[in-house]
């Protein structure tokens, strides 16, 4: 059932209930008032009859007493026998037991009883029929009016709800039209900042975020595909050239060696790419394990020793037996990437230092790792850029595709931490990364 139908039905139901309740109250009230009025008239009649009896000493009803104001009177003697009655009085032979509303001979009447000083009993009453009729008339009127009111409110509610919900239908249609291909479109924001306006605005902000994300993914994909193609082209060309009868055996050997190098380069690139994609995918949860800091740094140093030796750079790390909770694999990879980067840029004969400390920020321990080198440093304007995938600084060395720092950043951010680079006093760069444990 649509909201519109529900609203219309709710309106109609509310009106129906209101009319019902009010109607009942009015109906009851009317009955009570009319009966009270009737009772008063009956009592007045009794009073009139009694005063006439006292004054006239006639011992009976006067002519003028008979059937005045629709109230009949019956006089009973002290012994309970019926003496006289006005016209219209019912065939009552005995004094009724109680006064009030009763049924006498099939007629609904309001009866009052009074005993005179002389021992007679005056019974007066009036027909309750008219009262019932009045109530019935009211009920009929209310019923009719009520039905009309319910109908009108139902239809009116339907129409009003339609008007109010029309913008929703428009928005739904607009939103449905915004497809993947057309992510620049936005919903029209109505001028008023009511619920619908707020909804439209919120949806548009969400679309902005999605658009940014899709844009980033596309850029990433473009960069990745571009960076894969050049090594592929080199490999393909190499092999094509080798497949030539004019080629000598040594040339063939050389070509195969080069092709192997290209293939290895491609494999590394592909692996880095996959690593980065996996790191950036928010679905991959962290696997935090208790880690001794020096275990981590020693492992990194061990792994990068061959690279350092080839570059004639010395790596050193401080020793810390602090215990932290991290995703060991990713943290090691991030630090490893920073160190590899440092080794590549450090001048021959210089050293790369790894410094660690555990600080406390808002009751969480945070592992801070600094990697220092004496290389050319990173220019101020590039310090944000180099952490983007495929971005290499202007002074970048090494043959990497520019994914190491991006992967490191992804790892840091997955831990809720940060990464950055600063100038090192005395020359070089200080790359720092923080892992909240």
């Amino acid at each position: 059932m649509t909201i519109r139908t529900r609203l219309a039905l709710a309106y109609a139901a509310a009106v129906a209930v209101t009319i019902l309740v009010l109607g009942m109250i009015i109906w009851l009230q009317l009955g009570a008032v009319l009966r009270a009025e009737l009772g008063r008239r009956v009592e007045l009649r009794i009073a009139a009859v009694e005063s006439a009896l006292e004054n006239e000493e006639q011992g009976g009803l006067q002519e003028g007493d008979r059937d005045a104001a629709g109230v009949w009177v019956i006089l009973f003697a002290a012994d309970g026998s019926r003496l006289e009655a006005s016209s219209g009085a019912p065939a009552l032979t005995a004094v009724p037991s109680t006064s009030g509303a009763t049924t006498i001979a099939g007629r609904s009447v309001m009866v009052r009883i009074d005993h005179t000083a002389t021992g007679m009993t005056v019974v007066a009453g009036a027909d309750l029929g008219p009262v019932a009729a009045a109530q019935a008339a009211l009920a009929e009127l209310l019923g009719l009016a009520g039905l009309v009111a319910i109908l009108v409110s139902g239809l009116g509610g339907w129409w009003l709800a339609g008007r109010a919900l029309a913008p929703v239908a428009t928005m739904t249609a607009e939103a449905a039209a915004i497809s993947q291909a057309d992510l620049e479109r936005r919903l029209q924001e109505p001028r008023r900042l009511d619920e619908l306006g707020l909804l439209a605005r919120t949806v548009n902000r969400m679309l902005d975020r999605v658009s940014v994300n899709v844009g980033r993914q596309r850029a990433f994909l473009a960069a990745a595909s571009h960076d894969l193609r050049t090594p592929l082209a080199a490999l393909q060309a190499e092999l094509e050239l080798a497949d030539d009868p004019r080629v000598s055996t040594e040339e063939l050997r050389a070509a195969l060696r080069d092709a192997r190098g290209d293939a290895a380069r491609l494999a590394d690139l592909a692996a880095d790419l996959l690593e980065l994609v996996a790191a950036e995918a928010t679905g991959r949860p962290l696997l935090r394990v208790p880690t001794i800091v020096s275990d981590l740094t020693e492992s990194v140093v061990r792994r990068l020793q061959p690279l350092a030796r080839a570059a004639e750079v010395a790596i050193s790390a401080d020793a810390s037996d602090a215990l932290v909770n991290l995703d060991r694999v990713r943290a090691e990879q991030a630090v490893g990437n920073l160190v590899a980067n440092a080794i590549t840029h450090a001048p021959r004969g210089s050293g790369v230092e790894i410094l660690t400390r555990v600080a406390t920020a808002e009751e969480t321990p945070v592992l801070e790792v600094d990697v220092l080198d004496r290389g050319p440093g990173v220019r101020l304007e590039e310090r944000e850029l180099i952490f983007e995938p495929f971005q290499r600084g202007a002074d970048a060395r090494g043959s990497g595709a520019g994914l190491g720092l991006a992967t490191a950043r992804a790892a840091a951010e997955a831990h809720g931490g940060q990464i950055g680079v600063e100038d090192r006093p005395g020359g070089g760069a200080r790359f720092w990364v923080r892992f909240p444990a």
Partner: protein, 232 residues
């Protein structure tokens, strides 16, 4: 045959150079736009192979620069950027061919040969005559500082004139080249179009004009007194 290879990837350029030299080409290598620009202006090549994404700039810009400087050596873009927009851009900026990586070496060689056959003919992207400039890529014509508002056919006719300035073109030639086979009307339609073009062109000291040569046809005269010379 002398070829310039502008490519920053060390391995790939090594392979290309080796392959070209084996085929008997004289091949030079530049790894940056700066070096490429210097070499392209210092030597004469039969063809140039340009990568697009280089560390200090973009291959398209270099090609446009060379064309603007009047260097018409055929350029083949060899790049990983293979999207349609990139290819269109490469060709519209004055490039002659476009090959996407990874590529077959045999194809690279075949395309180089085709380019060499075409030679370094002056073939500017934008046509200029006096203060009239026509840009077929953007489909814009500007006379002085006023943009002309032309229909597709009017533009095509003006382009036809501008490609053969100071040359008398007969009605039948114009009809044949600017209208297609299906056209069945009278050659008089050319007169109508020429009238419109004249109105649009207006006049000016530096403005070419369409002259009627009775019995022969029409000719687009460069602005006098610089009749034969072309500016820019």
């Amino acid at each position: 045959m002398k070829v310039l290879v502008l490519e920053d990837d060390v391995r790939l350029s090594a392979v290309i150079l080796r392959g070209l030299r084996r085929e008997g080409y004289a091949a030079d290598h530049a790894a940056t736009i700066e070096d490429g620009r210097w070499m392209a202006t210092e030597s004469t090549y039969d063809a140039m192979i340009f990568d697009v994404v280089l560390p200090d700039g973009d291959g398209y810009a270099l090609c446009a620069e060379l064309r603007a400087a009047g260097r018409w050596t055929p350029v083949l873009f060899l790049t990983a950027r293979g999207a349609v927009e990139d290819r269109v851009r490469g060709l519209d900026v004055g490039g002659d061919d476009y090959l996407v990586k990874p590529f077959a070496f045999a194809e690279l060689l075949a395309r180089l040969r085709a380019l060499a056959r075409r030679g370094a003919v002056e073939r500017p992207v934008r046509l200029n005559l006096g203060d009239l400039e026509l840009d077929p890529v953007a489909h814009r014509a500007v006379a002085g500082d006023r943009a002309l508002s032309l229909t597709a056919r009017e533009f095509a006719l003006l382009e036809f004139f501008m490609r053969q300035p100071d040359t008398v073109l007969s009605r039948s030639t114009i009809l044949e080249q600017v209208w297609d086979w299906a056209f069945d009307g009278s050659p008089r339609i050319i007169d109508v179009y020429v009238r419109t073009l004249r109105e649009q062109l207006g006049s000016g000291a530096d403005r070419p004009r369409i002259e009627t040569i009775r019995g022969a046809g029409y000719v687009l005269r460069p602005p006098s007194p610089i009749r034969a010379a072309r500016s820019r």
